[in-house]
């Protein structure tokens, strides 16, 4: 390829440097398999890391692993549906927010604004619920989803606009927007959107028909109400949609070229700033969707003034990185962290292990992956030169 189309000397060729490839494209399945394999190896590594952490903290490791596992997937005595539902409920927002991170980071935009975009999505939906109190349930639900997605998209667009028009680095602007979103939520929820009694620091509860329906019939789980709701379907549909968008459309190709080599995108006359703006908007929209789904999938549908979906937007980054910034990989990594989040609640209750521990495990895992890749990249470039 390089012989037939010589590149201008100052532009690095479009060949991959880090295992990702734009020039040669094996089939989607082969790629998916590779990503899955990498995911499996990560999984084994993570399990070892967990064991090591328990050993360091002097918690009996096997007992702790069992508690963790039963919290996430249930046990033979207590049945599996309840725990499994809870795990999938934890996975849903992680999946959507980490997909959002994938879109932004693939475009070379290091957005850390998932949390703020998620909050704005939930806030916009809550505001609509107050306006449309007497609407039919189906209309209100659809409206809330639409408004939430729009809200998140606007919040993402702001960061994109700041980057493309004013050269403000998205790393800083998205963090600022996160804090602004948080204070906006607490101001409005404690103000005009507060529940009518005025006792609780949250918005009005939503009527049952507006909330998402439960997926697992009570008969399966011995009459216990499980928490898995139809919101998980949105997340599962979003995965192939984003995968196709990124890897099977010209738009996705241009986006990935931009992210890997902005100079190449400029020379190829791709609309770089337009792509950045679109990526940030889409990224925000996915987080907005995650926010509404968290709201409509909860048991009451009320938005608290603080602590809503705590940590989801930040966990999304390690989830996306461990999933290899690939939608299929993320399916696995979000399931892993969903299970870890749910399992660690059980661990906190039964073994008194702090749930902040997850952050350390996430960080060490990502540092390992990042370190190995950087080392590989160095190694391979050393060989070719």
């Amino acid at each position: 390829m390089n012989e037939s189309h010589p590149m201008p000397s100052q532009v690095p060729p479009l060949t991959p440097t880090q295992g990702d490839d734009l020039s040669r494209q094996p089939s989607l399945w082969k790629r998916a398999l590779l990503v899955a394999l990498r995911g499996f190896l990560s999984f084994v590594g993570l399990a070892l890391l967990l064991l090591l952490t328990f050993v360091v903290l002097r918690i009996p490791p096997l007992k702790a692993m069992q508690t963790l596992w039963e919290g996430a997937f249930g046990s033979a005595e207590e049945g599996h549906w309840y725990a499994l539902s809870a795990t999938l409920v934890q996975t849903t927002p992680l999946l959507l927010t980490s997909l959002s991170i994938v879109i932004a980071w693939r475009a070379g935009l290091f957005s850390i604004g998932a949390q703020g975009q998620l909050l704005i999505g939930a806030l916009a939906a809550t505001a609509l619920a107050r306006i449309g109190e007497h609407w039919p349930a189906v209309c209100l639900q659809a409206g809330m989803l639409a408004v939430g997605v729009t809200g998140g998209a606007i919040w993402g667009w702001i960061a994109g606009w700041l980057r493309t028009r004013r050269n403000v680095q998205e790393v800083i602007s998205t963090i600022m927007l996160n804090y602004i979103a948080q204070y906006l939520v607490s101001w409005l929820i404690l103000g005009i959107l507060r529940e009518k009694g005025g006792h609780l620091s949250e918005s009005e509860t939503l009527p049952g028909p507006v909330l998402f329906a439960r997926l697992i019939p009570m008969a399966w789980s011995d009459g216990i109400q499980t928490s898995l709701h139809t919101g998980v379907l949105f997340a599962l549909i979003a995965v192939p949609v984003i995968a196709v968008l990124l890897f099977r459309t010209p738009w996705g190709f241009e986006l990935r070229v931009l992210g890997q080599n902005a100079e190449a995108a400029r020379v190829a006359r791709y609309p770089s700033n337009g792509l950045r703006l679109q990526a940030m908007t889409l990224s925000g929209a996915l987080c907005g969707l995650a926010g509404v789904i968290e709201l409509l999938g909860s048991s009451t549908g009320s938005l608290p003034a603080s602590g809503f979906a705590y940590g989801v937007g930040f966990t999304a980054i390690p989830v996306a990185l461990l999933g290899g910034l690939h939608p299929i990989g993320i399916l696995f990594s979000s399931l892993f962290f969903g299970a870890l989040t749910q399992g660690s609640r059980n661990l906190e209750q039964n073994a008194g292990v702090s749930s902040v521990l997850i952050y350390i495990i996430q960080a060490v895992a990502v540092l390992t992956v990042v370190g190995v890749r950087a080392w590989q990249a160095r190694h391979t470039t050393g060989e070719t030169e």
Binding site: L162, N167, Y179, V356, A363, L367, A374
Partner: protein, 291 residues
């Protein structure tokens, strides 16, 4: 003391941690590295200052412990972002996450869930309600400006940020210079964190740095990578922080939550108006690999 005088001194108090962290980051960025992990290093510094003070019964030694802790986290950052040449922003984000987890686990493990125990002797006020750290920040500003712009070491550091290949060719060990800069930045961030805990109300809360590390990043950008610019920007941001905390006492008629959001809004507005024509070092954020 008059209300205005109190507000001015409050501004200086609030600006001190921001200035300390920003001065460190200024040096780091001049060497061509973006350290987004500033927030995590400040957070670690805040906790370690408390723990160090409790160990030694001396808040000044607590500050030293915080500086060392910041440098240790920075060493980790430098290992991945400088030595291995991984993406600096990715490593920075992960370092923040790790610091959040480490400080959270450590503080909970040490003191149980009631965080009220987590106190220590505060730094004494020397003059006008200011601690030694304010003096340190104010002295460091001209010194760093002089070092960066008037000494051979400063020139070499700037060369690493502008043209690392040329710097290496003329005998400057780029990776070592960048690593030293990162360690210095981590040390300053640790001291800035100490400023938040033992320099102010000597307690630790999870996530207490509350985005100040990122505001410090914004200060470096809007201060145009110049220590004097950082001083001016830090004072503006300190003023906003002060308004956020005491706005209602000063008679600003805005809801409390919106006042608290003020520093973040102002950060965006200042960046919006100042970043258009960037004067960033030419190789900022680009990993350097020795050929």
């Amino acid at each position: 003391m008059s209300v205005i005088g109190g507000a001015v001194l409050g501004t200086v108090t609030m600006a001190t941690p921001l200035l300390l962290a920003a001065l460190g980051e200024n040096v780091v960025q001049k060497s061509g590295v973006v350290n987004v992990g500033l927030e995590g290093m400040m957070l670690t510094g805040a906790l370690m200052a408390i723990i160090g003070t409790q160990w030694t019964n001396n808040p000044y030694l607590g500050v030293v412990v915080a500086a060392v802790a910041g440098a240790i986290i920075a060493l980790l950052f430098g290992l991945f972002a400088v030595r291995l040449g991984a993406n600096q922003v990715v490593v920075g984000v992960v370092v923040n996450l790790m610091a959040l987890g480490l400080t959270g686990t450590l503080s909970r493990a040490l003191y149980g869930k009631q965080q009220s125990f987590l106190t220590a002797t505060p730094l004494p006020h020397l003059l006008w309600n200011q601690t030694l750290l304010t003096l340190l920040a104010l002295v460091a500003t001209p010194m760093l400006w002089w070092w960066l712009n008037r000494t051979r070491g400063g020139l070499e550091l700037r060369a690493c940020g502008e043209q690392p290949i040329a710097a290496e060719a003329s005998g400057v060990p780029v990776l070592r210079v960048r690593l030293m800069a990162v360690l210095f930045g981590g040390m300053m961030a640790g001291i800035a964190g100490a400023c938040l805990s033992v320099g102010d109300v000597p307690t630790f809360n999870e996530g207490m740095s509350a985005g100040r590390g990122f505001i410090a990043l914004a200060i470096v950008t809007s201060g145009r990578w110049n220590p004097w610019g950082c001083l001016c920007a830090a004072l503006i941001f300190g003023c906003m922080d002060q308004l956020g905390v005491q706005g209602q006492a000063l008679g600003v008629n805005l809801p409390h939550d919106l006042l608290l959001a003020l520093p973040y809004v102002v950060t965006l507005l200042i960046l919006l108006s100042s970043s258009r024509f960037s004067q960033a070092p030419a190789s900022l954020g680009r990993p350097y690999r020795r050929a």
